[in-house]
């Protein structure tokens, strides 16, 4: 209970007697009985605990697709969140959240939340009816049974899910699909696949040093990463390293907030990162600054790489390609090679190209040839999944007896594919997540009859949005599980309201730092929201009522119990705890060496770092980390659509506190490009290319190069802006090996701009 509210009300009524006495008098007068038809109920004596004055503290964790995966402390009074703060027990979160995180309290309590199951009368009509959970699940279950009977399988049911909620129990969405039979899955990842494959070819896995170990670096290159906006907690380690004397170089086509903090900023020609890295490598080789002993003992194919550099790469060529003057390339190359240890943070931006995997391999090579792999303060840092060894209890469900599926695939079903090694006769049907629109339009035998969307907003985040709008006309039924009315919900038939992090039990780890945080249910689910696994259980109940045995998902679950089932001895040992309950005392950190590959036992076929990867060649790429051309321009300007400070993909920008800072979208244009087009600062412009256009206000700025138009990826609740109108689904070079499908050349896009 809000104490001041009680005070205010009591003061207002001039309450001479105590509340207790007043209630006693009302009771004695026989006035405390419910009236027929009334909504409010008599307050039971035990419910008067509502007047408690103390704050309860719960542990939460930010489950969004973000490096930082913050540990949160949530303070609750009378069942209502009062405020949150970063958990100080995690030295990474260190008691602070980001600007988005502090706005979390707005999410459960926004009046705009999706509150009830609703069904749309005519897809896209905006005519919605409120229905009960039973009614919603009945419609869905009957449709599932119908398509199974029609097709002889559940392959007509497709799941579009990705990174909207990384709480481990949310893999129950995939588990729900498995429990229904063999279904179609949108496989892959839009975010980081080319780099994942590149690191797997070079090192045998994607595994980064502990970010807290950045303080030990004596030289840091931030390459295509903007942690000042997108990993704010990492910045303190970078700044600490700087204070200790480390030089920080930032390489990015855009002068970011991170670049502003660096000692050196290179405005690299977009997609020419590989050329730049190779030019540096050539210079290091020429000066014999590479770590001969490390290379001899721990790598394969270095001489081949050196031959390639001597034969085909010069510093001048690299300067010409990358736009960075040769004398700067040689200076930084020398500094990087001689500062021990030195580290490179490879951002996800630089691999979103048709040559992205090749570029990451070139940067990896630079770190390896200088002997900086396997060392504290060193490393080619990209990401890791080393702390994700949960049971995936929610995910690993049995197929119904006799289920029939897809024949002929066995590849990974995404970057977070934890299905294990079970080999069945059938598999799910993989559809390319990065070509979602195309797959919905063309999948056949059976077509995508039902689309289930959870933890994802394809209309905002997936590519070629005009095609996506057409694709969303095709399925017979589209079900969205959401917290807010997104563009995807607008084109759905049924929306199911899902819980926020405060309303469910789960556990979270990071793909960057080494901490694990429990997520306790801090408040009751608002309105009629349910967690993803509760939805799965309720659906299973209805499926089995209609057709016994049609769904294997348990029909009655407790999210706390399911959280507990995610833990195993391996996780306990890794984190040095004996029970998950210990996480209630605060987040814990994996007992891992701060340096990835510290034992120099690599996961490659040779067990060494592979400058020459035959596996990479087998997969159709170059065996050596050679230069690969970027996408050929098809319009006058390059389009960059990076992340905004005020959101993560399509999340947060719609929250009122974020709107206060960031009320509308802008595009950013260099004054030179603007003057050539007669565009002035603040003009309304049309940004257009072969697949679509957006209209918005332009800001002129020299933080972007003259050949670039930049706009942030975001979903605004009151604005039709969508950068995916301009981003097509051209594939990046790598990603299929470890994530099932290649990535997308998100930054290999072109457009032009004119006054609207």
């Amino acid at each position: 209970m809000n104490h001041s509210a009680v005070d205010q009300a009591q003061k207002a009524i001039g309450c001479a007697m105590s509340r207790r006495k007043f209630l006693g008098c009302l009771a004695a007068s026989g006035l405390l009985a419910a009236f027929p038809g009334a909504l409010l109920r008599p307050l039971e004596a035990r419910a008067q605990g509502g007047f408690q004055e103390g704050l309860e503290m719960f542990r939460n964790a930010c489950p969004r697709n973000c490096y930082d995966t913050c540990s949160i402390k949530t303070f609750v009074k009378d069942g209502v969140i009062q405020y949150i703060e970063g958990a100080p027990e995690s030295t990474f979160t260190d008691g602070g959240l980001c600007v988005k995180g502090y706005a979390y309290t707005r999410r459960p309590y926004s009046p705009d939340r999706v509150k009830y199951p609703m069904i749309q009368s005519g897809r896209g009509s905006g005519n919605w009816k409120r229905i009960s959970w039973d009614e919603a699940l009945d419609v869905i279950a009957k449709k599932f049974i119908e398509i199974n009977e029609k097709d002889g399988s559940m392959l007509g049911l497709a799941l579009s899910k990705y990174s909207g909620n990384f709480g481990i129990t949310n893999y129950g969405v995939e588990g729900m699909m498995t429990s229904l039979g063999y279904t179609s899955r949108f496989v892959g990842t839009p975010c980081w696949p080319a780099g994942i494959d590149a690191q797997n070819y070079d090192l045998g896995d994607m595994w980064c040093n502990d970010p807290e170990d950045l303080v030990n670096a004596r030289y840091i290159i931030l390459w295509g990463a903007n942690p000042a906006w997108n990993s704010v907690h990492s910045m303190k380690y970078i700044l600490e390293a700087q204070d200790r004397g480390a030089k920080v170089v930032c390489i990015d086509p855009v002068f970011t907030q991170t670049a502003a903090k660096a000692d050196v900023y290179w405005e690299v020609e977009t997609s020419m990162d590989g050329a730049l890295a190779l030019g540096m490598a050539r210079h290091i080789l020429d000066r014999e600054l590479h770590d001969r002993e490390w290379v001899r003992n721990n790598s394969l194919g270095f001489e081949d790489f050196a031959d390639y550099l001597r034969r085909e790469v010069t510093v001048d060529w690299a300067a010409e390609q990358s736009g960075i003057p040769a004398e700067q390339i040689t200076r930084v190359a020398e500094e990087f090679a001689t500062a021990k240890p030195a580290s490179i943070w490879i951002g996800y931006g630089m691999q979103r190209h048709v040559n992205g995997g090749a570029s990451v391999r070139s940067v990896d090579a630079l770190v390896a040839m200088t002997g900086n792999v396997g060392k504290a303060g060193g490393g080619a840092r990209y990401g890791h999944l080393r702390t994700w060894g949960f049971n995936y209890h929610a995910l690993l469900q049995k197929r119904p007896e006799g289920a029939v599926g897809f024949l002929g695939t066995g590849g990974p079903m995404g970057d977070f594919d934890f299905t294990g090694d079970v080999q069945d006769e059938y598999t799910d049907r993989p559809l390319n997540m990065n070509k979602t629109a195309e797959e919905i339009l063309t999948a056949d035998d059976p077509p995508v009859r039902v689309l289930w969307v959870s933890c994802k907003n394809p209309l905002s985040q997936d590519f070629d949005r005009n095609k996506m709008v057409r694709a969303f006309q095709k399925p017979e039924l589209i079900v969205s599980v959401e917290q807010y009315f997104t563009e995807t919900v607008a084109l759905s038939d049924i929306v199911l309201p899902v819980t926020t992090l405060f309303e469910e039990w789960t556990v979270n780890v990071s793909y960057w730092h080494y901490w694990m945080s429990i997520n306790e249910q801090a408040i009751k689910p608002m309105y009629e929201t349910k967690s993803n696994i509760e939805i799965a259980a309720a659906l299973s109940k209805r499926m089995n009522e209609l057709q016994p045995g049609s769904c294997t998902f348990p029909t009655d679950i407790d999210t706390k119990d399911w959280l507990a089932r995610e833990f195993n001895q391996g996780i306990y040992d890794l984190f040095g705890i004996s029970s998950w309950e210990e996480l209630k005392n605060g987040p814990v950190k994996a007992k891992m060496h701060p340096a990835s590959w510290h034992d120099l036992q690599f996961g490659t076929p040779s067990g060494k770092y592979e400058f020459r990867s035959e596996l990479c060649a087998e997969h159709g790429h170059q065996a050596l980390p050679k230069f690969k051309e970027g996408r050929k321009p098809y319009d006058k300007l390059r389009l960059l659509t990076p992340h905004t400070k005020f959101g993560i993909h399509s999340q947060f920008v719609n929250i009122d506190w974020m709107e206060e800072f960031n009320p509308e979208p802008f595009c950013y244009l260099n004054p030179k490009a603007a003057s050539e087009r007669g565009i002035k600062d603040g003009d309304q412009v049309r940004v257009f290319n072969k697949i679509g256009e957006v209209r918005l206000e332009v800001k002129l700025t020299e933080v972007v190069p003259p050949d670039v138009v930049m706009m942030y990826t975001a979903w605004f609740r009151n604005n039709p802006y969508n950068c995916q109108n301009l981003v097509d689904d051209e594939a990046s070079d790598m990603g299929a090996y470890k994530t099932g499908m290649p990535g997308v050349a998100i930054h290999g896009q072109f457009c032009d701009v004119a006054r609207a």
């Binding site: 909504l39 409010l40 309590y109 309201p497």
Partner: protein, 192 residues
Amino acid sequence: MECPKTMPLDDESRLTAAVRDFFIAQNAAELRASVAKLPPNWRDERLHDADWEQTEFAFNRLFVGPMALEAPPYASVYLEDEPQVMGKTTMLVRSVYEMIGLVSPWKNTLPDDHISLELDAALALHRMLHAATPSVRGQLQELRVFFLEEHVQVWVPRFCARIEAAPSVTPVLLCMAAALRQWLGTSIARQG
């Protein structure tokens, strides 16, 4: 929609209950049923000729979702600087309910300051006062004055204005906004 200045108690209670049930209805049938509960002198023609399915769609656009609400039915939205529920206003309203020994059956899942819960509390106060012994009547009356004049009367007119200006408003919704305004006028007048 003329309304007598001093409505008989039964009619006022019926009006309150009908408006209460309207704003918390879940579908067209419930909307229609709640309107049918209005006292006879409130049976506006527009209510008889309504397209109830269209009314339901519009009702959801204004008060339920899934889109951002055109006229959120929560006091907090109109009384606080930032439109968030479960804050100071919701807690104040909760404390009023608790002072008269009542609690929402949807405590902590539906904001206590939903218009229908507030109308229900007003109705309860009205009835309690009617039956109260002298020992509590004075305080109950003070509480009622506080709740209606310091709280309900501040936000409900803003809520009604929002309904009237809503892009999706329909004749039925306008009619019920008018009923709500009229109820407020009558209730405040009754306070003397």
